[in-house]
């Protein structure tokens, strides 16, 4: 079986799909093994990113998309008019001749959609566009990824988890063989050369675990100045850290093209006496970073590829999210990683937008002293960090929780973390769990026989999200949610009945108008309550579609109603199951 994986984004985005690649490899080997066929996984990436093959296991061949060459030749009057066209055509032709069985498009933009549509394959997962611009997703997860662009960040699934799920990772995760050895272990590969160089770097630092200090990696640069926290603040953070323990060693990471900046940063500590012995430049390659982070205790970084390598390693990741960094969708994804982010309303800004503020507010509102205290608390222990985080009010602090098998950011210092949970917070948590199960079910990968297990996972996720809310209060909130959802269930059923009646007369504008009015009324009623707010977006997309033919609109509405019925049913099952778990816990405590 031959599979092509397309990822035409930046290095960090390619690394963040490592878990999906592992799932894909396991699924492919399973299918091919049953049919006694060899398997091959090919990767299509931008020129400049191909070195990622060294650290991604299981890639048999890398194809290059000559993005820079295409872009430069199109705008350069001195280059042949058809150079870009010919380069692209040659690429499409060579990929077509590979005769792939499946293509997975983990890029999810129009360029990749058109490209995926052009390359023949029996199965295509991810965005693919045909000659008329018609779109297919090949998976409920990718269809959902397309929709969640409009979601609030807290409602969104992490992109690496969407890819992981679409590649069958969630289903594999439920298998017995991954109960002990977690499926996310070993998603990146160490190389002998990388390990050797990492050992040399470690030796240069003089780090001695017996002294009790920590080995901390620091990534100060990012691909976009908007995402940078700032060298001055990093300098202050480093000084705090090395002063807090003589055994700490700080590695300032950088790629070869960043060598000058990194050396200048390290040399800026020359006048600080002996502390400079605790700070070292580490200008290293990707394989060396993978090996280094396996022995580091902590990696502090902005939104970079180092963050994703850190999430795949045993080091705890501490992301300082600024600018366009979106921790909910593309943040660290390992259980127990951390993110801090400003509460400025303009964050996260668009990737391509220039900052419109007079100052870099999203970075300035993350003071170095406060960040240093948090990191020191983290190095002392997670309980100490929790205590310190609860006292921070200037910015948000999140911890990654994977209780349900997907990354979720739990706030460590929001109102709902420190006080009673509110209706909206619990509703959001239950809705996320229900949505995950509905999407897995639509992809044909979830067996309802495991509802008990999923309920327990959702229960664990709820408890870790609201640690200070009593079980009695949670049961009360869930009870209220059940009432609202049952009411919504009735409303949706009545809409279905009306839809069935209109079926024979959908060409009648008056009938359609009545139906659309009913949908608008339902949207308005369901939108008022946090337990049923998830219905707004799908109903809005039906209401806003006034261009499609009546039959198409009818089909869309029928599909939307079926989707809402599934989601409400799933949410009700989860609520009842979680309530039962809470009752069981209460009974245990009373004994």
């Amino acid at each position: 079986m031959k599979v092509l994986v397309v990822n035409l984004l930046r290095l960090g985005d390619v690394i963040s799909m490592a878990s999906a690649l592992k799932a894909l490899r396991l699924q492919t080997e399973q299918s091919a093994g049953a049919a006694n066929e060899p398997t091959e996984i090919h990767l299509l990436v931008n020129r400049g990113v191909e070195s990622v093959q060294e650290i991604l296991p299981g890639i048999d061949r890398v194809h290059i998309f000559e993005r820079n060459r295409l872009q430069s030749s199109l705008v350069d009057a001195n280059r042949p008019m058809f150079e870009a066209y010919d380069v692209l055509e040659d690429l499409v032709e060579s990929l077509s001749q590979e005769k792939f069985d499946a293509i997975y498009n983990f890029t999810h933009n129009r360029l990749s959609g058109w490209l995926t549509g052009l390359i023949p394959a029996t199965k295509k997962v991810g965005l693919a566009m045909d000659g008329t611009g018609g779109v297919s997703f090949g998976s409920a997860w990718f269809r959902h990824l397309n929709q969640q662009v409009d979601f609030e960040e807290e409602q969104s699934f992490h992109h690496s988890d969407v890819f992981f799920a679409a590649a069958g990772g969630l289903a594999l995760q439920r298998e017995r063989r991954f109960q002990e050895a977690h499926i996310l272990d070993g998603v990146l590969r160490e190389t002998p050369a990388g390990q050797r160089r990492a050992l040399e770097v470690l030796k240069e630092t003089g780090f001695d675990p017996a002294q009790g200090g920590a080995l901390i990696a620091l990534q100060i640069s990012t691909s976009d100045i908007k995402k940078e926290w700032g060298d001055e603040k990093y300098r202050e953070l480093v000084l705090h850290l090395v002063a807090s323990h003589p055994g700490h060693r700080v590695l300032i990471l950088g790629a070869p093209n960043e060598a000058m900046r990194i050396r200048d940063f390290v040399e800026s500590f020359d006048n600080h006496g002996r502390v400079k012995e605790q700070i070292h430049a580490a200008i290293v390659s990707l394989p060396t970073v993978v090996s280094l982070l396996e022995v580091c205790h902590l990696v502090i970084t902005g939104d970079t590829s180092i963050k994703h390598i850190g999430s795949a390693s045993s080091a705890t990741v501490f992301e300082i999210a600024a600018g366009s960094a979106d921790p909910f969708r593309t943040g660290p994804w390992k259980h127990g990683d951390f993110v801090i982010a400003s509460r400025e309303a303009c964050r996260p800004c668009g990737h391509s937008e220039k900052c419109h503020r007079e100052t870099h507010a999203c970075s300035d509102t993350l003071p170095a002293v406060e960040v240093a205290r948090l990191v020191e608390a983290l190095l002392s222990g997670r309980d100490e960090l929790a205590r310190r985080a609860a006292r921070v009010s200037a910015f948000d602090i999140y911890q990654v929780d994977r209780s349900e098998g997907m990354a979720q950011l739990n706030s460590m210092n929001s109102r709902s973390h420190n006080e009673l949970a509110m209706d909206r917070d619990v509703a959001l948590s239950v809705e996320r769990s229900a949505r995950r199960l509905v999407l897995e079910s639509r992809d044909g990968r979830w067996d309802r026989m495991t509802m008990g297990t999923e309920t327990r996972l959702a229960f664990s996720a709820l408890l870790s999200k609201f640690p200070t809310t009593s079980k009695v209060d949670l049961r009360h909130l869930l009870g209220g949610g059940e009432t609202y959802l049952r009411h919504a269930e009735g409303l949706v059923r009545s809409l279905r009945i009306q839809l069935d009646r209109v079926k024979e007369s959908i060409q009648d504008p008056k009938r359609v108008h009545e139906l659309v009015s009913s949908v608008a009324v339902m949207r308005s009623r369901l939108g008022k309550n946090p337990w049923t707010m998830f219905a707004i977006e799908p109903l809005m997309s039906v209401l806003e579609d006034d261009r499609s033919a009546p039959f198409t609109r009818y089909r869309r509405l029928a599909d939307t109603i079926a989707d809402l019925e599934n989601r409400i049913e799933m949410a009700l099952k989860l609520i009842r199951g979680i309530d039962a778990e809470l009752m069981t816990e209460d009974s245990k405590e009373l004994r």
């Binding site: 931008n46 001195n78 008019m81 055509e89 058109w114 590829s305």
Partner: protein, 88 residues
């Protein structure tokens, strides 16, 4: 619009020799030089346009070609939005 004067195309043919009436056996004036240059550029351009027009025409009728052009259009749009395939 591309600068036809400096365009190098793999379809470009050498410009034909242009006959110039010999009214003056001395050095050409600057005006005549300009005219000669313009004529040469126009001739080269017309050859390029003629050959590439045939290719453009062929591309225009092919679904595959249109889709390839769409990809190129998206690549330009991404460049306009500042996307760079960097290594960070």
């Amino acid at each position: 619009m591309k600068n036809m004067n400096s365009m190098r195309s793999r379809f470009a043919q050498p410009a034909p020799v242009v006959a110039v009436p010999v009214a003056n056996m001395g050095q050409p004036t600057s005006c005549e030089n300009s005219q000669l240059e313009l004529l040469s550029r126009l001739t080269e351009a017309s050859v390029i346009i003629r050959s590439e027009a045939e290719r453009i025409k062929a591309i225009g009728v092919s679904d595959r070609s249109v889709r390839l052009l769409r990809i190129l259009g998206e690549a330009i749009e991404e460049q306009r939005l500042g996307f760079q395939a960097d290594t960070k």
